[in-house]
Assembly symmetry: C2
Homo-oligomer: 518 residues x 2
């Protein structure tokens, strides 16, 4: 599947398994993971992952086989990942919040050898998914219990001797399903190199070292949470887990464990402010983004490069961030500059680099790029054509070299010889004060192949003419991209969930004649 697990040069090997092996030696007395009453030193985490790897091996798990985690956050996710790393297998962390139908799809699609599940919180969904799915005879292991058939029994059954296999650091070790805009999700296979390279970047930009204590209060099936988890792992810090993100529990763990980092969204911060209004919890160890004055008084304001200039452009298929504002915000670019270990190009559909100022697809190359999608040879070939990873997202190089994220690529309209990306025209339309939302389609045109039609929904009570909108677009982007026809709609745009339903718009407004997908 991955095509990478051939014998490699072991002298230059460094894998996720080696991270655990090294910290077991370099930090023999330090916490590696804390999860409720469970507290594991590095030697304990390393040995438990060896036991688990050997137990997986006894169950028939071989190289490139998938072990599926369907539970909430737990130190056992780290153990499972490290066990997979020691075997050359792949740990897939599934979304435990998804429906039984969705989980059943992941089970059937990933063809796991072992499925780790839990009863608490998600037992019903898992049971329904198990009935719906084709699990291919996978071994089901419950982790939130003890005794025969449990995860803990499995760990105890395995030999503590490190399997010490020769694993290629370019082989997949992690799989994360990506939220496709339309159609079925795909499992992105991410290599040791991808996880470690991204982890180094996050460690550098978040100033993570062996003293870092990261509360995993975001979901581990999201790359945005996991990249900091792995940075903490790589640098020998401590990962702390809590299955539920409740304000009092989060405050308790931060205060008692002196956490230095956590993944906190706005609503959680508001709940914490309420829960800790009396100052019962000492949260001063937490280095994080500033916010309301009472929040700033409670925490330590993070001054790391990441905190000073957060975000950038990224996606699961590159194991997180491809560009960082912390690598240099541009005068006009919105996504900063590329991570130092990736090559980034803006390309037209023919695979030619476009000059600064022009919009094209963001493509990338380097160790962070996924191995491919599991069991999707055609989609993988499409995304990796020409030896570049195609992000399916549009971007632009600004004259100062910084990058602007334009929007998802979607379809291409071809007018004369020119490629027109609907997302770019929509962004220009949406920047007009009168426009609430817009969609752009291509209509067959005898002279030019296609012409641009815009469907526009205006804000209530704001008047705008077709000419005004066309002029507005022409001020923003190249003239050939401007709509020829603007259709004003009183109805909201049809959507498939969040994405716009372009097929319906084509049917309603005569769209068609699109070029083949590049």
């Amino acid at each position: 599947m991955t095509g990478h697990n051939a014998p490699m040069d072991q002298l230059h090997r460094f894998t996720l398994a080696d991270v655990a092996r090294e910290h077991a030696r370099s930090h023999p007395l330090a916490d590696a993971a804390v999860d409720g009453d469970v507290r594991l030193t590095w030697p304990e985490l390393d040995e438990r992952s060896s036991r688990l790897a050997n137990a997986f091996g006894d169950l028939g798990v071989r190289r490139d086989d998938v072990i599926l985690w369907t539970g909430q956050n737990s130190h056992r996710v780290l153990e499972t990942l490290l066990a997979a790393a020691k075997l050359g297998a792949v740990c897939c962390i599934a979304n435990w919040r998804q429906s039984a139908d969705e989980l059943a799809f992941v089970i059937s699609d990933s063809v796991p050898k072992v499925i780790i599940w839990q009863e608490a919180e998600v037992g019903e969904v898992v049971a329904s998914a198990r009935e719906l799915a084709h699990d291919g005879g996978a071994v089901w292991v419950r982790h939130d219990t003890e005794g025969a058939g449990s995860y803990e029994a499995l760990v105890a059954s395995g030999s503590p001797i490190d399997p010490a296999q020769d694993i290629d650091s370019g082989a997949a070790v992690l799989m994360l399903y990506t939220a496709a805009f339309t159609g079925r999700p795909s499992g992105a296979l991410l290599s040791h190199d991808a996880v470690l390279t991204q982890a180094l970047m996050m460690a550098m930009l978040q100033e993570i070292d062996a003293d870092y204590r990261y509360l995993n209060s975001g979901p581990l099936f999201h790359v945005a949470t996991a990249m900091t988890t792995f940075a903490t792992l790589l640098m020998g810090g401590c990962n702390l887990f809590t299955p539920r993100v409740e304000a009092d529990e989060v405050c308790r763990v931060i205060a008692t464990e002196r956490c230095t980092g956590a993944f906190l969204m706005g609503p959680t911060i508001d709940q914490i402010l309420e829960a800790n209004a009396g100052g019962a919890y000492d949260l001063s160890s937490l280095r994080t983004f500033p916010g309301k004055p009472e929040w700033n008084a409670m925490i330590t304001i993070d001054t790391s490069p990441w905190a000073r200039r957060p975000a950038g452009f990224g996606q699961t298929e590159v194991m997180g961030m491809l560009t960082f504002n912390a690598m240099g915000e541009g005068a006009t670019g919105t996504a900063g500059r590329p991570s130092p270990m990736v090559a980034v190009r803006i390309m037209d559909p023919d695979g030619n680099e476009v000059p600064p100022g022009e919009t094209g697809e963001i493509v990338a190359r380097g160790p962070q790029v996924m191995v491919g999608y599991r069991n999707r040879p055609e989609e993988t070939a499409r995304r990796q054509r020409g030896e570049w990873h195609h992000t399916n997202d549009l971007g632009r190089r600004e004259p100062d070299g910084s990058i602007t994220f334009v929007g998802p690529k979607g379809r291409i309209i071809k007018s004369a010889a020119e490629n027109i990306y609907p997302a770019e025209v929509e962004a220009a339309l949406n920047s007009h004060d009168a426009v609430r939302e817009s969609a752009v389609i291509g209509v067959p045109d005898e002279a030019w192949g296609q012409s641009v039609t815009a469907i526009v929904v205006t804000h209530d009570g704001i008047e705008v003419t077709t000419e005004e909108l066309i002029d507005h677009v022409r001020d923003k982007i190249a003239s050939y991209k401007k709509p020829k026809v603007v259709i004003f709609s009183d109805e909201p745009l049809p959507r498939l969930g969040w994405p716009i339903d372009y097929d319906t718009l084509d049917e309603l407004h005569g769209g068609g004649g699109y070029p083949g997908v590049g």
Copy 2:
């Protein structure tokens, strides 16, 4: 030679050549290199390295061929390295301070296709070396001139089109000769992966970003200088060059170019204090180590992890540092903890890991490790046996996981089944107040194979007995390592330059019966 330059997976490739290609796009307006009157932006540096690569190709340089730089520091070292990177060739930076004999050895030994030299300062030595060496028909190119046959003419002759070859990041791109304690120096071949991994670590620990401006005031043929040069290159900062490290010139460049970093040794700092006593130069941009009060008032005190806890253990063969104090000083360890991307073990001569507290050879694995020594298959095999790089240095894991550097490995004495490292016994002896210097040899012993004899030179006028010294050693290290015989010598120990001449001591005192080299 390197065995690596086979076609590789280009989707995941990232090489030193890619660094220049990326920064040309991401930092099109920024300085990449400044050298006297020469000021190159990233697009200029990238294009000049493409021209040079193509010109080298026209001269017959192919993959794994060596281009030898014999001049002082210059922006052209960077260009030559990047040109080599684009071709899959190897840039060797020779020591311009060495004698004509030594340089002749390097020329004959490295078998370069092209030799770049300069007339200023080192013209005479180079001319003598050229007469003494077998240069194998190498093309000689002078860089500190213009016109036919010059470096600048060569650059101008090459096509500006990037050769864009598919280069394996595991292949050698840099060669640095290492100072062997005895015998001939060897050229360590360092890969793109090695250079980039070490550069990432230095960028992280020295807090180097695209705004960093590094004055290359240390010699680039030393890895200790070069690792910061490459960190600056990788992060898109600016490297500044000056051929001579003279206080006024260093001050002028720092002040006018607002340098943020420089490689400054103690004597240079003293000269700067004198040259800038009147405050003529504004050196406040320089972030560096604190020193005398007047120095601290002149510069900005560096608070990076590297500055707060500098040094560690390293060597040219791992492209710099293997361990860093900044990764966690131990209670007793002297060399901190390993870099996060290397595996480190303490091994006995049979290739078994020794437990914490015991001395053995420091061995390593990971992307930083050299490809091998050029044209030294036997020494390479010896240093890379068992798929671990053997550093030839002794170390110890402390109980807290930190590492202590004990000393160079040298010979091994075998007494009963035990390995005894002379360096370890000598360190114990030397820690006694009475001892000025000591050397330990093995003497054939019918019962035990060998027994330990120490030759000791005491400080003038301090008395000490054999029994006192043996007791002292037994207090410090395992009892079986203590000397059986102590010979007091009134003469300094015989030395071959700096290293002790053990063969002479063996002859004088009956040494012999050493086990075969492991």
